[in-house]
Symmetry: C2
Subunit: 535 residues, 2 copies
């Protein structure tokens, strides 16, 4: 820029600047001369401003550091509150560091505890497990045969109705009394056969597992399988019963009452082997003649998910063997002597590990495994869970973390009861009672200890849900926060580790130190057993 | 609502509804009659819709749970990513739980370690400490006397200049040669006196602490006091030197170069006892003739801040005695045997405790204490720190966490060097070298171990700062995150506990188990020693 001063004196501004600086530095030695006085005395603002600048750069020690009033950013006087993002990062670091330390400590104390030979997978266990693995699905096929028979009968009844419609001149559409009685007895028979089939599916398998399968891992896998097939078979029977009923009363627009989706495959056509087999493998517990489907299988996707399942399973096995087992083992004498502070200490130590295992298990099962299965079966509805980790009440949690089971109980227990006039409370109690029983079976049967902790843990959710229900309504983030904290603490910090501890203790009390590792590992994994839903 | 159906059939809709439901329920028992057929066969949409609704409420088991294709909310197919707020809450819970467990463990292992009698506060230590507490400020008063003398001389010189201006007809404003020489020598003398005074302020006190004060707590307090007064005295001398120079060259507009704030109290008037005493107590290390002030003292505010200081001090004492000391003590033999994994384990365990103590100390000193002091002295500029916890590089951290020291070094070391033509790098090195020396004094002198760890810890910040400098520029949040993590890890996780461990070890090596507790407590608190600034 060319300053007025520069133009008047006809000097290049830079040179003029140099002069100024020289002048100023000249003054530093206190020697002054006339032309300088005149030079800087001339009231040319531009020059003066330059002088000022140059001098400022010289007087560094007088700079006014404290020039205005400012509050500390943490005190209440501040207008805008500061960001605390850094502390969030710090929390993560401290968490990592803390657990890193525990890992080192653990290795120093116990060395490596991973050992494949340690598991006493007895020959009989494996054989029985395999046998049941192939026997359990048979119940589905029995259900199929029953339904096939029912479908044939349904066709007959419909024909009979049509026939009677025509040949009766008054156009009444009811078959003869004798026919009617015959059909009624058919439906009774069908209902009975299903009941027997379904009950054995669960009862027989549980009996075998409880009395003849020693190893809790094999036991649990078998039991889960039995429960899943039990649920699927029941759903298959219930759904087809209603479909049949709609089929038998076409005139009253009851077919229109069915979901549009089913139109692609109306009632009797869905009773085929293929349709059943699809339901058998589909990642759902709820039977529908038709499901939303994807166009093609992305094998890359499947491979990734399977990879996740393998890695996470190894991770779970490793952590439970290396970290959970010692904690569980060390807590035995404390429980025996009812040393409350020590038990609490053990519980708290266990909680972190079981939490990690639980999260890994959740991801492995609900994200990786079910998605892989859904991709292979071209099953399009993948919402197996919602954002349960944000749930502001236990009710929300149970409704969102395990949707296959939630949807099952809602469709086949809750809604039917409601539509039959039961109150919301009674229906919920029924659901939680049922799921509590299933939990006890899932945990108690493979560990050969029906001590009722799982049952209570599940059943006591109801009061907790009632307690935290108001927090759902809360608009304030604090209310939600409180609810979320109650959920995490009650569920992952106390609920799970406590149950694991109890069953491990019961196991030890019954079998002593037999295959401790396996059982410990087992018990932690119980966390991932199907849990129920719905309020 | 009155439906067309209702109006046409002239029936009350409710009644009509009842009919519908009755019809529907009638069908359940499979008995049908003509009028019903006609009834529901009539193609009245409204009625049909009602029928549908009623029937739907009956066919609960056929409900299409899986009606559309949805991705799992954690898989990449989702359009919007889910919120993970719940996991943040979980982190906090796990942190609390983890440390709660450590607290229980600690109590079970060691019982209560808090004991007031354990500190061997020797009579001689206390007496010396008190004596120095009163002696140290004297250096400020000596500086005052020197400045007072200088001010008188300055007035004389100015008068002389003015006089020579008048009686010399050529109007040259320079005093006679002989006068000039006299004044120059005066300034030399002043400079020398200040140098001696300032040097003794630090040297003498450090010498006494190192050789005669055994207890590290008393030692540190005395050393901090000495360093603060040393810095204040130097600032007082530097600032007044520049003010005096500006005062002696009024013609060249050098007075205008001074901050507007100072106009309220121009140079010689600020050399008063009152002005000095205010600087003595003001919560700043930088001397200004005038500071921004508040109108009144809010005694409630002061009381609250003091309460915080007391509580936090007790908290720090408690935590370091109960949690830090055992960790430090247990690590001695590990260091002796150079057992690296164990040392790491100790370091990591120590890091959490030292971090908590450090944060408590920071808050106690920079938020509570300095704000209380500022309120009492009606000191308006309260920005003693900025949001250092978010700093994305070590440079930012050192510039924001301890602003009094940062501003001091910037005003009296960095800027003057820069204006004298030194490079940014050299100036920074000078600053960090100086602050490194101060750190070593602060930690090494009271612990009677000048082992240079604090010096290095401080001096090695320079490479770290250079390393993390690029991250400041980064716009991406990931870059900032990385920088922030590097800062936290390098500083609080390794830097501090390592230094504490080293000095504790050196202390033990020198004095054995004498007043372990005090020293441990001490060393952790070192974390809060004045740290330097600026890149």
């Amino acid at each position: 820029m060319s300053s007025p001063a520069a133009t008047t004196t006809g000097l290049d501004p830079a040179v003029q600047n140099d002069n100024l600086i020289r002048r100023v530095h000249g003054q530093e030695h206190g020697n002054t001369s006339r032309e300088e006085v005149n030079g800087s005395a001339e009231s040319d603002n531009d020059t003066r401003r330059k002088v000022k600048k140059v001098i400022r750069s010289k007087y560094r020690h007088v700079e006014a550091v404290h020039s205005q009033s400012r509050p500390s950013c943490l005190s209440h006087d501040t207008t805008e509150s500061p960001s605390f993002l850094g502390f969030r990062n710090l929390m993560v670091i401290v968490l990592v560091v803390g657990n890193l330390r525990l890992i080192i400590e653990n290795i120093q104390k116990y060395g490596v505890l991973i050992c494949i030979g340690c598991h006493d997978f007895r020959k009989s266990d494996i054989n029985l497990g395999l046998l049941l693995y192939f026997l359990i699905p048979c119940h589905l096929f029995i259900a199929y045969i029953i339904e096939y028979y029912a479908a044939v009968k349904a066709r007959d009844e419909r024909d009979a109705i049509a026939a009677s419609k025509q040949d009766s001149k008054d156009g009444t559409s009811s078959p003869t009394e004798e026919q009617h009685r015959k059909f009624q007895s058919t439906w009774k028979l069908v209902r009975m056969l299903h009941a027997i089939n379904v009950t054995t599916a669960l009862a027989f398998n549980s009996w075998v597992v409880y009395y003849y399968i020693h190893h809790p891992l094999i036991g649990t896998l078998t039991e889960i399988h039995a429960i899943i097939v039990w649920l699927k078979t029941a759903s298959y029977a219930f759904t087809n019963r209603d479909l049949r009923h709609a089929y038998l009363h076409p005139a009253r627009g009851e077919l229109d009452a069915l979901p549009e989706l089913y139109a692609q495959c109306p009632y009797p056509q869905n009773i085929t082997m293929g349709n059943l087999c699809y339901f058998w493998w589909a990642p759902t517990l709820v039977y529908q003649p038709v499901y939303p489907r994807t166009d093609k299988i992305r094998w890359g996707f499947v491979a990734k998910r399977c990879g996740e399942v393998v890695c996470l399973s190894v991770f779970i096995w490793f952590t439970s063997a290396q970290y959970a087992t010692p904690v569980l083992r060390n807590s035995l004498d404390k429980i025996a002597s009812l040393d409350i502070p020590s038990i609490t200490e053990r519980l708290l130590k266990l909680s972190t590990i079981s939490l990690i295992i639980w999260l890994a298990g959740f991801f492995a099962l609900f994200q990786s495994f079910l998605n892989a299965l859904a991709e292979v079966t071209r099953f399009a509805d993948r919402s197996f869970y919602d954002e349960w980790w944000n749930s502001e009440s236990l009710g929300v949690y149970w409704r969102t973390w395990n949707k296959p089971v939630y949807q099952y109980f809602k469709r086949h227990v809750y809604s039917p009861m409601r539509s039959r006039g039961w109150s919301n409370g009674t229906a919920s109690v029924a659901v939680f009672f049922l799921s509590a029983v299933l939990h006890e079976l899932l945990v108690g049967v493979p560990t050969h200890n029906l001590i009722g902790v799982a049952f209570l843990g599940m059943f006591l959710q109801l009061p907790l849900i009632q307690m935290t229900k108001p927090l759902e309504k809360k608009k304030s983030s604090n209310g939600k926060l409180l609810g979320n904290i109650i959920f995490w603490v009650s569920f992952t910090i106390f609920g799970q580790p406590f149950a694991a501890l109890m069953y491990f203790y019961a196991w030890q009390a019954k079998y002593g130190s037999v295959s401790k590792m396996a059982s410990a590992q087992q018990l932690i994994q119980q966390g991932q057993g199907t849990c129920p839903p719905l309020v």
